[in-house]
Amino acid sequence: MPEEQNNLFMAVFTDEDHCLEAVKACTQANFTYHDVLAPYAVHGLDRAMGLPFSKITWVTFLCGLGGTSIAFLGMGYISGWDWPLNIGGKGALPFPAMVPIMFELTVLLGGLCTMLALFAFCFLFPGKQARLFHARQTDDRFVVVLEMDEDFSEAKAREIFTANHAEEIRQVPHDYNVNAAGEDD
């Protein structure tokens, strides 16, 4: 039985700096974020939200290491053990000749796995319906969405948002989605 979900409280900003200042104040006030949405990566936003460092670097590192090993073991098995071939007098296991392929596979697997891990973490897949809190959230608007839980205080939130020049402040249901409501303009 899922818990009853909180309503959401959102504010729309027209300026990156105003949004960032509002987020800093919200973090200070100990509010719970549903999400903060911006059309592009805003420098310092994750730090302002109090998010921990991304673990995705470990995915890159380990998958890169995996790529190195796959290349080395694969070539070792194919040309060193399963069907040894002496090419150009270099012997069956020519390590220097393997290095470029090991390097390439490190970069390829490291890069691809990082992208796939990012998609998995963000729950993105082809054909996914976008959930929008504001029709121009992917254009030029910055949206801060707060959970209306026990730490929340509407008066305080309104005060923070108004002080930082929010364009629009409103309370919305927990499954609010501009995209589904067809409010496209």
Binding site: H43, G44, T57, F61, G88, G89, K90, P96, A97, V99
Partner: protein, 408 residues
């Protein structure tokens, strides 16, 4: 928005007496070591001198190209630390004096074999005589004058623009620096290419590599960023730039150091692999001499380990790049790696014996590290002395405020 008013830290660097004594001690060690290496013969002494002179020349070269690159890219973050590379370029005239000794190595010894070619009637002497139009003493001296002329003129012009800006804060000096940097970047590439051929690659005059200048560039940038990090740490330890330089600036230097050593490793390996693969005798001779015996461990194990693997793994995690202690340790390792790389290139002095390359000097030639200590002492003395001549922070640079707020 400006924090300039809130910076209340010493604006003028004064060279601590203890540091002066350490630099002087290092120079003394270098002088004694250079004297002692004469026991091993003029070639050994010159090996030490050329390694030291080229190693130390890398720092002002790095300083000049770093300033030019940052100016051309309109970079802002480096503004708080730009006095350090500026001071580094002041070593150029002193380096020119140390390279006069290299002219003596050319004229008066067999350190550079091409300087006194003898016609033995074999292919080796044929090749040396064939290379005479480029590799001869007078052309060597003329080229040296051209290189140092370009380096000194461009770096002085860059520093002058920065000094003038200290007075009036006019943005036109930034534009001037940009106008100097663009042609300098091209001239730097050309002069570095020919200089690395003249001073380093021609130690083995019949060997050649088209990657050589790029390989030396990688080494110069690695050692340069390592030295920059160490000088910054020294300045902060002595109580300067405590607030203006923070973890974010160290982070950027760390990123540069990581990418430089990786670039070096890439070129180092490319140069080796292509020669190994194509297997053409006149190219492989250089590596065959280092593949056999004790030099193998130096050239193919210790060099990549110290110059790339260890610093790479140390600098990969983000917190290590932001921690001056870890960054400083990695920088020291890179500086050691740079020496080992140059030493394994210059010291073995291979010769052909019945068509098979042999090395005439063993790994005991590591003693020339003593001479290098002297050169590093000399470089640090000149740089820190030059750092006293101008305010430590370029407060009137248009990018200064951006640099204070640098954040990654």
């Amino acid at each position: 928005m400006s924090d300039i008013a809130t910076i209340d830290e010493p604006d003028q660097f004064s060279f601590p007496v203890l540091a002066k004594m350490v630099c002087g001690g290092m120079m003394l060690v270098g002088l004694i070591a250079f004297g002692l290496t004469w026991i091993g013969g003029v070639e050994l002494a010159m090996t030490g001198w050329v390694i030291g002179a080229w190693y130390a020349l890398g720092f002002p070269l790095f300083g000049a190209i770093f300033l030019a690159m940052c100016t051309l890219a309109s970079s802002g973050w480096h503004t708080v630390i730009k006095r350090v590379p500026e001071a580094m370029t002041r070593y150029f005239p002193v380096a020119a004096v140390t390279f006069v000794v290299v002219i003596f190595a050319v004229l008066g010894s067999d350190f550079y074999e091409w300087a006194h070619p003898h016609d033995h009637g074999d292919m080796h002497s044929d090749l040396l005589l064939h290379k005479q139009p480029y590799l001869n003493a007078s052309a060597f001296i003329i080229r040296m004058a051209i290189y140092f002329g370009i380096w000194i003129a461009c770096s002085y012009a860059l520093v002058r623009a920065s000094r003038k800006q200290d007075v009036d804060g006019d943005v036109k000096h930034t534009i001037t620096a940009r106008r100097i940097s663009a042609p300098f970047a091209i001239l730097f590439g050309l002069t570095l290419t020919f200089a690395s051929i003249d001073y380093v690659m021609s130690v083995e005059p019949t060997w050649f590599s088209t990657m050589f200048a790029v390989y030396q560039f990688g080494g110069i940038m690695s050692a340069g960023f390592a030295m920059l990090a160490l000088v910054l740490i020294f300045l902060q330890q002595s109580g300067y730039m405590r607030k203006s330089v923070n973890a974010n600036h160290y982070h950027n230097v760390g990123i540069w150091l990581l990418s430089s050593v990786t670039f070096w490793a890439y070129v180092w390996f490319c140069q080796f692999m292509l020669i190994w693969y194509s297997n053409i005798p006149e190219e492989t001779a250089h590596y065959v001499a280092r593949w056999e015996g004790e030099w193998f461990w130096v050239s193919f194990v210790i060099t990549p380990l110290v110059h790339w693997v260890i610093p790479f793994l140390m600098l990969l995690p983000r917190p290590n790049k932001r921690n001056p202690k870890m960054l400083g340790l990695a920088a020291l390792i890179v500086l050691a790696g740079r020496f080992i790389d140059l030493w394994q290139f210059m010291a073995p002095r291979p010769h052909l014996d019945a068509g098979i390359p042999h090395t005439s000097q063993g790994v005991w030639t590591f003693v020339v590290v003593g001479t290098l200590v002297g050169f590093i002492g000399l470089f640090l003395f000149v740089t820190l002395k030059a750092l006293e001549k101008a305010p430590l922070l370029a407060k009137k640079d248009p990018y200064f405020d951006e640099s204070l707020h640098h954040h990654i």
